[in-house]
Structure formats: C-alpha cells, structure tokens
C-alpha cells in the first residue's frame, strides 16, 4: 500500500516561474503540493488539543510556508515578483479547495459549527470562498489593499516583507491592512454599509 507521492517542493520555484510566465498547467501541478501541506496541517490539528499547541502550530505553519513558498528564494532573480506570484497561487489554490469542500458538503449550507467558528448573520468569516468574493469586490476600487491581503494572509508575509514586495513603506502596509480587514469583515458579515445604495 504505497502512498502517492506529490512532486517535491523543490519544484515549487520552477512551477511558480512557469505560472507567472503564463503556463496555466503549472497551477495544476502546484495544487497537489499545497494540498499535501494542507492535509499534513489538518492531520496535525486533528491530533492535537489546541490550547497547548499554539506555539507549535505557529511553527508548523511557518514551516509549511517555508516549504511551499520560501524554498530556494535566493535563486529567484526578482524576490518581490516571486512572493507576489506565490501569494496569488496560494489564493487560487486554497479558495478552489474551499469551494470544492463547500460543494461536497452541499452548497455550503451544512456548515458544522464548533465553538470557535465565528458565525455572524449566518455567514462565516473563516470561509475562504466568501473572502475571495469580498476581495474581488474590494479590488474594484482599491487594488493595492487586495495585494496587501494576498501577501499577508495568503502568502504569510510579515508587514516588512509585504512593504518590500509592494515598494511602499511599512506604515502604508499597516494602514492598508487595517482598513482592508475592517472593510472585508464588514462586507462578509453583512453589516450594512450606509454607503450602499
């Protein structure tokens, strides 16, 4: 009963490069690598009690990002471009994955609610599909904030790294980040915006 092996994470840089160069099939090849990490993490959550594991969780997630995104980053000529592309790829893959899971559970209706899942007005803030929609809406009038969220949330970058990639100051990133979080949270939880006509 040998397990299937996914491509080694050493391919990640090459695949990201291919994808940014317009090779659509690279995304298909990246997806299994990301899923592998996802399952590894999920397995970990399933086997742990969260309280005592918070420290290790951080470490695991960092490690996952290191394996997926940070790999051989120094061989990439344009560091900023590399990060930007990987964050976008992570968004595409994770949102697609969430969308399929929602479908499998019956159109996203049958959410299982455990104590720590925030449900506001029947909409979940941890729903990556809803977040994707909200990001698309935000992108219609403020593209840079979408990039900031992509790099930080999907790409796992720090404020400083995000600033470096976007070639803006760290202060700007922090402003963008807090405004975007407030706006997206409002959009996703359905608190009425007085501006909405």
């Amino acid at each position: 009963m040998a397990k299937p092996r996914t491509p080694s994470s050493g391919d990640v840089s090459t695949l990201l490069q291919a994808w940014s160069g317009g090779d659509r099939s690279a995304l298909d090849k990246l997806a299994p690598i990301v899923y592998d990490e996802l399952r590894r993490l999920a397995h970990y959550y399933l086997n742990g009690e969260r309280r005592d594991h918070s420290l290790q969780t951080t470490a695991l997630v960092n490690e996952a990002y290191l394996r997926l995104v940070d790999y051989r980053r120094m061989h990439w000529e344009n560091r900023a471009h590399f990060f930007a592309v990987s964050a976008q790829v992570m968004r595409r893959i994770l949102v697609d994955h969430a969308r399929r899971r929602n479908l499998k559970r019956g159109g996203g209706v049958q959410h299982f609610s455990l104590d720590d899942v925030a449900i506001v007005d029947g909409r979940r803030t941890d729903d990556l599909v809803a977040l994707d929609d909200a990001l698309n809406a935000l992108g219609r009038f403020d593209e840079r904030k979408v990039r900031v969220v992509e790099l930080r949330f999907f790409g796992g970058l720090s404020v400083e790294e995000t600033a470096e990639v976007l070639k803006v100051s760290a202060v700007t990133v922090m402003r963008d980040w807090s405004t975007a979080r407030a706006w997206l949270y409002r959009h996703m939880t359905g608190i009425a915006s007085p501006d909405r006509r």
Binding site: P4, R100, F112, A182, W183, R186
Partner: protein, 914 residues
C-alpha cells in the same frame, strides 16, 4: 469614478486617524471632521465597528484556516457518527469536544443507580480486532485500580456493539491549574501546596507502576472547590515489573502522540520512558506556575529552535526570567516583580533545575523526593537538591556542544521518536514470551498503531530517515529490537520514490543483523520481510527461498502464530508475483486459519491476508469469489469505522477492478472513483495513483463516457511514465487506443497500437496475456476498418494466447468469453453462421458459469446479442428476439438505460413486434 475614489481615500484617512486616537475621543473627532456629512460619518463609524468586531479575522494565515476547516469537519463527522452509539447503563447527553484520539461526551447513568454524570471517551483508533473487546476491558480494569482522590477515576472501559471502544471517566469540571492559580491570584506558597497534591497523585500512580507520560496544565484541572484532579491516565503505560522496571508497554490510547512542549528530552529522542519522564513534565508545570512561562521561553517559534532548546539548551532559573515589566504576572502571584524574583531565587530555582535536568538520571529519583524538597521549602528546612556550580555548568556546556544533534523538523522527530519508542516497547514485550499473551497482544496493537501512523499520511522519506537516525543513536538497544524496528521502517519506506532503494537497504540490514540473534520470530520475520522486498526486485527464486527459510525457522508454539501469518502473507505475495495464483491462495488461506486460531488478534494481518486473498482469487480468474471477498472486507471496514482510510481505498479499488472484469462497469466505475477520492482526498484528485486512474478509465470507456475515460487514461499514462512503471504505461496505451477507436479516430488508435507492440516485446515474455489483449484490440480495429479477414486472424491469435496462459494457471481465462463473442460477430459477417453460432453459445455458457448469481453483465449482453444476430440471420426470428430481450436486460442493468448498447438491443428486441 474619480469622485468615488476621492471619497474612499477620505474614508480611509478618517478611519486611520480615528484608530490612532483613544476610543473615547473618536466620536467627537468624526463629528468635527465630517462637518455635517452624515453618510461619511456613518461610513467611518461602521468601519470602526467592524474593525473592533473583527477580532482575529485574517490574523491566522490562510493555510492554517483551510487546514483547520478540514480538521473541524473531519472531527465532527467522526463525532456525529458516535451520537447513536449505545453503552449499556448510560445515556449520552451531549458532545463535549473532539480531538484526534476521539471525542468526549457527557453522559449519565440510565438505570438510575447513581445520580452521577460521567465523561464518555470514544477512541478514534479502533484497535479492536477479534477478541479485542476482552483485551480492552482488561486493560481498563488495571487503570481503574488507580483510585486516588486527585486522579480522575476511570470507571469503565469496553466496546460497543458496533466495535467502538470507549472509556467511561469521572466527569471533572474545572480549570487548568495554571489558569486557576492566576485567576485566584494564588501566591507562591499556595501554588506549591496545590502542586503538592498533583505530586501526591502522580506518586500514587508510580507506586502502582503507571507512568502518566503526558502531564501538562490542561491535564491537571482544579475544580471550583479547589480540588486538583489529574486527567488522562488513559494514555499512561503500565510498567512491566522486575526486569525492566522502567520500560512502559501498555498501548497508548492516543496513538503515541505526545505534546512536545511538555515532553522530556528522552521522549523526543526516543529514549526509555520512565517515572523520570513524569518528573520532567512536572518540573515544566512547576516552572510555569512559578515563573508564568515555559522553561524554554516563549520565543522559540521555529521548530529547530524549539527542539534545540528542549534537547540541548540550559534552563534559565525561574528567578532570572522575571523582569521589572512583569508586574501583571507578579500581581497574579499576589506580589511585585522584585519580590517575586527574590522569592524564587535560591531554593526554588534549585528545585526546578533539579526536576528539569536533561539527563533523566540527574533528576529527582522519584516524585516523592521532588515533593519532599518542596515540603522542606514550605517549612523552611534545608532542601536536599544542590545547586549547580559554575565549573559543573561550564563542563556540561562544552560536552553538549560537541554532540550536536542532527536537527530534523520537530514534528518529524517527535513522531519518529514516538514510533521508535513504542516499537522498542513492542519488542521488549515480545522477547519476554513467557510473560503473558496479554503483553503480546499489546505489542501487536502497538505494531498496528505504528503501521497506521506510518501508512496513513505521515510516511515520508524524511521521517523514515529521522527514525533511522534515532535508531542509530540507540546503540544499546538489543539487536532483536533493532531488527524489528528496521523491518517496520523498511516496510514503511516509500518504494515509489526511489525504486525501493531505501526499503531494500533497511531490510537487507535487518536480515544481516538477524543472523546473529537466536530469537526465532525475529529471524523469520527478517527473512520474510526481505523476501517481500526482493520480490519487488523480481528475483522470484531468491524470494521463495527466503520465505521457506523464514517459515522453517518458526516453531509451532502459538506465540509465534503472528510471525507465521506475517511470513505466509508475504509468501502469498511472492507466489502471486511469480504467477502461481493457486499457491498464493493456499498460503493465504492457511494464514487466515492460523490467525483464527491465534490467541493474539491482529487487525492489520487479518486485513492484509484478506485483501491479498481477494487479489489472488481475482488473478486466478475466480472473479465471483474475489468479488464476494472484497465485499466482505469492505463491510467489515465500514463496521470498524475504517471506511475512510487508505486501507479501505485499496479494497474499493480491487473490488472495482474485479466487478469491471465481471462486466459490470457502472459498479466498477463507482467503486474505483470512491477509491480515488478516498486515497487522494479530493474530487479531482490531483495526486491520484496512476494505476487507479488507468483502472478508472476502463469502466468509463465501457459506459460510453469517452472524454472522461480519455482524460483518466492520459493522466494515468503520464503518471506511470513518470514513475518508470512500464507495465502500467503499456496498459494505459492499450486503453487509449481503444478509446480512440470508439471515438472513430482509427488512425490514432492504429498509431498507439504500433507504439505499444515493440514496447511489449521489450518488457513482457512471449505468450504473456498482454499480447492476447493487444491482438484482441488489433482485431477490433480491423473489424472497425471493415477488414474482416484480418480481424478473424487476429482474434484467433488472441484466443490462442489467452487459452494457453489460462491453462498454465496464469491470467487469461476471464477474457476468453469476450473474445468468443467477438469472433462470433466477425464470423457471422463473413457468413460462417455455424461457427458464429457455436462461438456465441459457448461464450454465453462460460459467462453464465462465472457470473455472480443475481447480477448482470455487459459481457453476457454482448454474447446474447451475438447469438441473437446469428439466429436472426439464420431465420430463427423468435429465438433471436428472445436473445435480444435478454441482451437488453443485461445491458440495462450493467450499463444503464441510456447507454447506446442498451438502446440498440432494445430496438432489436422491439423490432419484431412492429
């Protein structure tokens, strides 16, 4: 749009300015800044509100959110399946929580004998095989004897009617000890007094030969009445007694998972788990109660750092980590930072240091000694532990840096350490065969556990490497232990990655080592394990010799039963690989018989031999028996709650292939699809196994879903090429050729077959059934082109090859009826009616003989159709119609009502009535 953009910029500026000021000044600021623009003020206010409510929204990285969503769904799916479980005398009230080891429910007595509420823990890992229920209960009884006021009582343990193991525990409502102390602002002395209750409880358990193994604040609860209760002695391991007082050997209920932050260094490095291990964990808890932080500090956020700190780092004395900024922390201890530091300095620093020594031998010799020093401290007597001198520390530092630890990732090491640790325990129990079968049962259960850990998702070359490195460090382990561990690691290594090089190396080493031991079990297993590996390398004769050597080494005593089963199972695989299906079946049936009579159950071996038996039956052409076999295994797995495992996926796969060969493509398609989804965890299965994809393509093709079939066959082909798997790549090529033919692209089909021919000649011996399949497909292609003469010639060649192969006891029998029906069609078109009629009748007879009663087959449909057409051509209209009707029925049930073959047969059947 520019207006909108300006306004958005204004909104953001106001929002940011408001966020920068204290909350109470924001309203006034906005009123002034918006100057009567109500909608602007409302917009900013609403964003401020949602900013406040957002909490940790988006603060955890996306991949963590996604992984957690998967974990939550999986855990609650498992939990929901338990809501209907029935436990005698108890009524389940509500779900309290879930984790990887299972889920916990609140329950009460349903017979009114006690008022008391209890916690019911369902164990996720169903390690219950035949006879296991008794074993589980017995183990529960031992733990149940640990009566102590500060240990949460284990009331009962057992297995429900649906084989779900459970524990019934005292229900404790309380707070983790560190939180409780902080909330009640307990001073240092009060904390120590509470902690002494914990030590008392652990000391009692140690006196009863039980080590907790996983002490941490969340397992030490304090109730509202101030009573301490220690939880989860369920994972504790019983000490074995005289010879190895320190080696634990009870099965771990939590799958051997430990909590690295609280694990002692020897746990992480795979050392022996002793009472000293608990002393260390208790030291960590004391440190946290005193200093409010973990001894390795809170900043170690990279796995490597954490491991390094745990294994190598000096522990800073608690007093030195209190800084003047810690006023909140000191307040929770009823004091100020300076006073707290003075309180800890000296004796308490020394006591914590003594408990947290990296080397188990340097720690307090017992929990009682630990408690004694704390009591002395409280009573202002001199403590017994001595502080480290500077020269002692300096010498230690130098020594430690010479032995740099190879750093793998923490998760890998922790898991690997757990696996190696428990393997060694399994071995120890096995070596003392004169002890009791109970110990052997446990050893086998631990083996199963490790196999599961290694095969269900954790297995990776790095992990095996990590485990092997730990093994290398354990030079003092007995050789027989090392042999068994090497076997387990070798059999867990992933052969698809390096062509089996790692596996071969490990098993070869195990075999060499085993020559030097007297233990018959270890010798036999090492020989057979290597046989299994060598067979992968296609040296059939050497494999067979090793299997015989292994079997001959085993005495008849019942305690070697499982070793015998192990060898017979591999022996079956070896026979099967050399094409001797009948011998494989005999070996596996014997294995099952031995297993049934064995005093020690093994779920894993039962599963493996059953699955192998099914596959051997299939290869021997006994498709009906094979299908029934797979159906029974699948039912058992579902019943055991293993329906979602990779093991189940392999059953669905084999079952699907079998019913496909029986001419039931709809069922085959469903089963193989299920296998793909379960194996690779996703609908579109980006990492599906190539041979699963190829086997999926065949029923898809038969069902007329040609686009999907083509896509699966292509993916399977590419995957096989990448894996260097020539036979399966060839199989995929043949499938693709048939799909092109059915699409009408005869040229492409021809090209594929032309490519296949030389490849086959290179990779399989002449007379192999694969040549039969190739000739058959060439014949179909010739018939599609209208070249009936060539078609007849080719199908004759195919029949010759298949008949010879079947006669030699190899594959081929199952395709003969199909070939006969096809030859009948060609003969009829050539006007050779008598031959055509004879072939169709014979085809039909063979299919009916092989069919599972009550099932339909597409092959039967084709045979009826062929026969009907001959009869029609011969003018026997009524008989022809009957055959058409029968064909329509077979097609309807095996292919569906809308399938073109069904409709064609129905038209023919209806034709006469018009």
């Amino acid at each position: 749009m520019p207006l909108e953009a300006d306004r958005w910029k204004l909104v953001e500026d106001l929002l940011q300015s408001a966020l920068a000021m204290p909350p109470e000044r924001r309203d006034a600021f906005l009123q002034q800044a918006c100057a009567g623009d109500e909608s602007l003020a409302a917009e900013v206010t609403s964003l401020l509100t949602s900013y406040r409510q957002a909490g940790d929204f988006l603060l955890a990285p996306a991949i963590e959110v996604a992984a957690q969503a998967i974990a939550v769904t999986d855990a609650s799916r498992f939990a929901q399946s338990l809501a209907t479980e029935v436990i005698p005398h108890y009524r389940i009230l509500k779900h309290l929580g879930s984790g990887g080891m299972g889920s916990v429910w609140l329950a009460e007595r349903s017979d009114g004998r006690f008022e008391r509420q209890v916690a019911v823990k369902f164990i996720n890992f169903a390690m219950i095989g035949p006879g296991g229920a008794e074993r589980f209960r017995r183990e529960g009884t031992i733990l149940g004897r640990l009566a102590h006021p500060h240990i949460a009582e284990l009331i009962d343990a057992g297995v429900t009617d649906t084989s779900q193991p459970f524990l019934i525990l005292e229900f404790v409502e309380g707070r983790p000890i560190d939180e409780y102390c902080d909330e009640h602002a307990l001073g240092i002395d009060a904390r120590i007094r509470l902690f002494l209750d914990v030590l008392n409880a652990v000391s009692h358990a140690h006196a009863n030969l039980v080590v907790h193994r996983d002490i941490k604040p969340s397992n030490v609860l304090v109730r509202n009445d101030g009573q301490v209760k220690l939880l989860d002695f369920g994972i504790a391991k019983l000490l074995t007694g005289d010879e190895h007082p320190a080696v634990a050997s009870t099965i771990s209920l939590e799958g051997g998972a430990l909590t690295p932050r609280f694990a002692a260094p020897e746990q992480l490095m795979g050392g022996a788990i002793t009472t000293a291990t608990d002393v260390y964990a208790l030291g960590v808890v004391l440190y946290m109660l005193l200093a409010g932080r973990h001894p390795t500090g809170d900043a170690s956020d990279s796995p490597a750092q954490l491991l390094k700190a745990l294994v190598e780092g000096e522990t800073r004395p608690p007093s030195t980590v209190i800084s003047p900024d810690d006023s909140e922390l000191a307040a929770a201890r009823g004091t100020a930072p300076d006073t707290l530091r003075r309180q800890l300095r000296g004796d308490l620093d020394t006591i914590a240091n003594k408990a947290l020594k990296k080397n188990p031998a340097e720690r307090y010799a017992s929990v009682a000694a630990f408690a004694d020093d704390l009591r002395r401290y409280l009573e202002h007597e001199p403590i017994r532990a001595r502080p480290d001198t500077f020269s002692y520390r300096a010498g230690k530092f130098a020594r430690r840096n010479r032995t740099a630890v190879a750093l793998v990732s923490l998760a890998v090491v922790a898991i690997a350490a757990g696996v190696v640790g428990t393997l060694a325990q399994a071995r120890t129990a096995r070596r003392q065969r004169d002890l009791a079968f109970r110990e052997l049962s446990r050893a086998e259960a631990i083996n199963e556990l490790n196999q599961t850990v290694l095969s269900e998702g954790y297995q990776s070359p790095e992990m095996i490497d990590g485990a092997e490195r730990i093994l290398v460090q354990q030079q003092e382990a007995p050789i027989a232990d090392r042999v068994e561990i090497l076997i387990t690691l070798g059999r867990s290594a992933d052969i698809s990655k390096d062509g089996g090089a790692q596996s071969h190396r490990l098993l070869q080493e195990a075999y060499q080592l085993s020559r030097g031991v007297t233990d018959a079990g270890a010798r036999a297993k090492a020989a057979c394990a290597l046989a299994g590996e060598v067979s992968y390398g296609a040296d059939a004769a050497r494999s067979e010799a090793l299997v015989r050597e292994g079997l001959a080494a085993l005495p008849q005593q019942p305690e070697f039963a499982l070793d015998r089963v192990f060898c017979l199972q591999i022996g079956g695989a070896v026979s099967r690989a050399s094409g001797a299906a009948a011998e494989a079946i005999a070996r596996l049936q014997l294995a099952q018989q031995v297993l049934n009579e064995s005093p020690i159950p093994s779920w894993r071996l039962d599963f493996l031999t059953s699955l192998d038996l099914g596959n051997s039956l299939r290869l021997a052409g006994r498709l009906r028996d094979a299908s029934i076999q797979f159906e029974q295994i699948a039912a058992r797995l579902t019943l055991q709650g293993r329906g979602d495992t990779a093991a189940a996926a392999s059953v669905y796969y084999s079952w699907g292939v079998t019913v496909g060969q029986l001419g039931r493509p709809s069922e085959a398609e469903r089963l193989i699809h299920r296998a793909i989804v379960k194996e690779s965890g996703g609908e579109d299965a980006p990492d599906a196994l190539p041979w699963h994809l190829i086997s999926h393509a065949a029923p898809l093709r038969d069902l007329g879903r040609l686009d999907e079939a083509a896509s699966q066959a292509e993916r399977g082909y590419e995957g096989s090429i990448k894996n260097g798997d020539q036979p399966r790549a060839n199989q995929a090529l043949l499938l693709r050729a048939s799909i092109y033919r059915l699409r009408g692209d005869l040229a492409r089909a021809q090209d594929m077959l032309a490519e296949l021919q030389p490849r086959l000649q290179r990779s399989v011996p002449p007379g192999h059934i694969f040549f039969g399949s190739l000739r058959a497909e060439q014949s179909r292609l010739a018939r599609s082109r209208g070249d009936l003469g060539a078609a007849l010639d080719l199908v004759n060649q195919a029949l010759t090859i298949a008949t010879a192969s079947a006669k030699a006891g190899k594959q081929g029998a199952d395709i003969i009826p199909t070939l006969l029906a096809e030859r009948s069609e060609t003969e009829r078109q050539l006007g050779r009616m008598e031959d055509a009629r004879a072939d169709a009748s014979q085809s039909l007879r063979q299919i009916q003989d092989a069919a599972q009663p009550g099932t339909s087959s597409m092959f039967a449909g084709r045979a009826y159709l062929a026969l009907g057409r001959v009869l029609q051509a011969q003018g026997h209209t009524n008989e022809a119609l009957t055959n058409f009707q029968l064909a329509a029925k077979e097609f309807r049930n095996s292919l569906g009502v809308d399938h073109s073959e069904t409709r064609a047969a129905q038209q023919l059947a209806a034709g006469g009535r018009r």
